[in-house]
């Protein structure tokens, strides 16, 4: 090979790299290891963890990352090399399979949300919310963002980061006494600006919210639209769509979510999946990849990336977003999950989450010293006031093999004696009993 190039050694090929920049010694890195030794090292690292989804008597941790059942077919199908080791389907003729799978994904997300167009994914729920906010700024030409204080604290934090250099203001509506945003408080926030809210770019509301409570999108978004032409951004939970009203039927202009509940393991917070859907009239303002249906030269149905003039590789500084690599494989997993469970399975999963969570909540509310922090409808997660610090319960759970929930103060959504408890379809009656027993023992 060197002869073909006409050089004596590989060093000659680095001619343009000045000598003084070339490493003379080795990097200070661990020595290379054979696969078997790597396996041993990995086993040791894995053994030093205490994984929630493996907890002997169940884990009740949520706050945006949920332990749902994943059918074996999802892992098997998503781990096919043809999906794992391909890149963005730039060349349609070489990538019809993944393009069709993404086209189906887009369709499923539209039907899941009641929206008209969906992209082929963003990084995660938090960045999907941030992209929705940025899209709203661009679509409306305004600089005021109103976000419910009941939106996941990480999502709010990321929006704050994204807005910091964009000359936009960020206002939070404090949660009302029932753990949801009240119409009155939203009204006040809208009117706080000029023109009765006509300087607002978007109103962001999550439901079920960080407390698990169901917000009244219909009424909040109707008020938003009656008063301004700001965009209504709904942050949804894809499993809850099996049971609760869809963003599209509640007046949302943009619907975004963390797609992790759809067949993606907890895997310590990532990679996850940003879902993003909107109305057709806003299609050209959307961030991210879009797959379209078309025909080939013989008139057969085919698919390709489309509306690419929105994107960074064509439009540079004027692109709708800088996103390039997205979460393709996770979008495929979500599509495979939805295909595996189907509409009845999604409804059943959502109902089981609901019933199991309400069963747990009722039993906990009966315990002396414990009460639900909020009244009103919730989905599969609820905040509980405890007679002892949440941290103490979490510690006690470690010995008992139960992970009872998340500390409200550590999460930044409540106090140190509040526990956020999530109950998915995976939590059995026996596990719920263990949880209740653990709490009963501490008051």
């Amino acid at each position: 090979m060197l002869g073909t190039i006409g050089v004596a050694d590989i060093d000659a090929l680095y001619r343009s790299l000045p000598e003084r920049y070339r490493l003379t010694g080795e990097l200070n890195l661990p020595p290379a290891e054979a696969e078997l030794d790597l396996r041993r090292a990995l086993n040791a690292r894995a053994a030093a963890n205490r994984p929630a989804a493996e907890a002997e008597h169940g884990a009740f941790l949520g706050a945006g990352a949920y332990d749902h059942f994943i059918p074996a077919a999802v892992d098997a199908l998503a781990s096919q090399g043809a999906f794992v080791t391909a890149y963005t389907p730039y060349q349609a003729e070489a990538s019809q399979g993944s393009l069709q799978a993404f086209f189906e994904f887009q369709t499923m997300i539209c039907r899941l949300t009641g929206m008209e167009v969906a992209n082929a994914s963003l990084y995660d729920g938090a960045t999907a919310v941030a992209e929705a906010v940025i899209m709203s700024l661009k679509a409306t030409g305004r600089r005021r963002v109103i976000i419910a204080g009941t939106v996941h604290p990480h999502y709010r934090a990321v929006v704050r980061t994204y807005l910091a250099d964009l000359a936009a203001t960020f206002e939070e509506v404090e949660p009302g006494p029932n753990g949801t945003i009240t119409d009155t408080d939203l009204q006040a926030a809208l009117e706080a600006g000029k023109d009765g809210g006509n300087d607002v770019a978007c109103v962001v509301v999550q439901s079920p919210n960080i407390f698990g409570r169901v917000e009244s999108w219909s009424s909040l978004f109707a008020m938003t639209h009656a008063q301004t032409d700001a965009l209504a951004v709904s942050v949804f939970n894809p499993i809850a769509c099996g049971l609760l009203p869809l963003p599209g039927s509640c007046g949302a202009d943009i619907a975004v979510a963390e797609g992790q509940p759809l067949g993606i393991p907890l895997q310590f917070g990532g990679p996850y999946l940003g879902l993003f859907a909107t109305r057709r009239k806003l299609m050209r303002k959307m961030p991210g990849r879009l797959i379209g249906q078309t025909v080939d030269a013989e008139g057969q149905r085919a698919y390709c990336l489309t509306l690419q003039t929105r994107e960074q590789h064509i439009r540079g500084a004027k692109a709708t977003s800088n996103v390039c690599t997205n979460q393709g494989l996770l979008a495929l997993r979500a599509a495979m999950y939805l295909a595996a469970v189907g509409p009845e399975g999604l409804r059943e999963t959502a109902e089981q989450c609901y019933h199991r969570a309400h069963h747990a909540a009722a039993k906990i509310a009966d315990l002396p010293g414990y009460f639900l922090s909020f009244d009103g409808p919730f989905f599969h997660e609820f905040l509980v006031n405890c007679p002892v610090p949440a941290a103490q319960l979490i510690d006690a759970g470690r010995a008992a093999g139960v992970m009872p929930g998340l500390d409200g103060s550590a999460l930044g959504i409540g106090s140190a004696d509040q526990l956020l408890i999530a109950v998915t379809e995976k939590r059995t009656a026996a596990q719920i009993d263990q949880l209740v027993n653990l709490l009963r023992a501490h008051h």
Binding site: E54, G64, E93, A157, A339
Partner: protein, 495 residues
Amino acid sequence: MAEESIGNPTPLLFERSVPGQRASDLPPLDVPTTPLPETARDTGPLDLPEVGPLELVRHYTTLARRSFSVDGNFYPLGSCTMKFNPRINEAAAAMPGFTSLHPLQPDEDLQGALALLYELRCDLAEIAGLDEVSLQPAAGAHGEYTALRVIRAWFADPAGGNQPQRNVVLAPDTAHGTNPASCTMCGAEVVAVPSKDGLVDLDALRAAVNDHTMAMMITNPNTAGLFDGSIGTIAEILHDAGALLYLDGANMNAIVGVARPGDFGVDAMHFNTHKTFSTPHGCGGPGAGPVAVRDFLSPYLPVPQVVAKQTAGGGMAYHLEQDRPASIGKVRSFFGQFGVLLRCWVYLRACGSDGLAHVAHTAVLNANYVAARLRHRYETPYFDPDRQRYCAHEFVTVPERLLARGVTLVDIAKRLVDFGIHPPTMHWPVHNCLMIEPTETESLASLDRFVEVMLRIADEIKNDPQRVTTAPHAAFVARVDEVAAARTPVLTHGP
């Protein structure tokens, strides 16, 4: 009539749907029911496909067969580093000790995962020749954005001289599209610096810097496949003007283990783990874009940061640090693309220092070999071994003589598909170019076959151009009408 034309060989899931079918079940509810909320939908289940278990598996198996991939095809997609993805990485990422971790568990439950992240953080800093790494960014573009925000935050701070007016980013005219787009996302303005012979025009750079310059974003080796030997001078020009030098690490595959960006004047950079460190591309993601910076920028890195402390017993305790007052804040939820970072850790452990240098050397050798074999039929404007001008890990060809015969670049690309080869990157960084990146993991036989195919296409353009202009002939579909797709967007199935 050919068998495959009977019925549709690739129905959509929606077309496979049969009412009542389902590929998954749940155990029956073993708790009492609670009345559903008043707002529960009573309009019936959603309009999602209903398929049985075999239909589900067959559907996605069929789709997998209709996708080119590194596993199945030579994939010399320039700038994307489509190298082999070792299976041990996948096996590691699938271990329940990692997949079953909830991101909000207490640190003490996560010591194995945090140890691994801490080690990766340190290893990447060493490879970069910089001081501190954030593993938070989800992809390369996200890394660019994060680093630019960090640089802006430093300039706005007393530590950076209270210079919020520095909001102009310089980028070569050959920059990745994500560079200017990332600037816009953080409210910075982009000014393009022209290139000369594929390298940064130093006079133009000197003319462009001023006290509004925040940084220059540079890819080195650059997108034309050249290592810019003036990088030290470029760094000096920027530093003299009070600005910083940012490296887009997309092309690290050419220099990893051979040279360190920190040693040639770079102040901040991102890695693309899905390029350099072999985490798989997954049909478009997930990637990860760790950011490395000099110590004066580290207080501004996003939260959380993984840190280590010596314990009383002499061991290490790992912790996610949230309290960094100067931090730009969070750039995503939880803690980065853990499953991707884990694969990256495994890859680095499998390579070691020597292994990384070997990666770069072989990637560069392979690219130069293919360029040398093709250049007499496919012009290589920046590659000329007769004048000792070599490429890095990728090269650009602008096949003017072939195009002059009336074929287009697209024709050549689509003809490659007939031979089971994924077309190279097209029309970028210059018009009418193919950017070819073979990567280090391809065998000589695979490179030779690619060359033979390219030469055969060149012959066809001369002797049977229609064979090329009507390609592909043996792909999953005939040429796809992308213009029609954009003119009348059909983004979902059905009404």
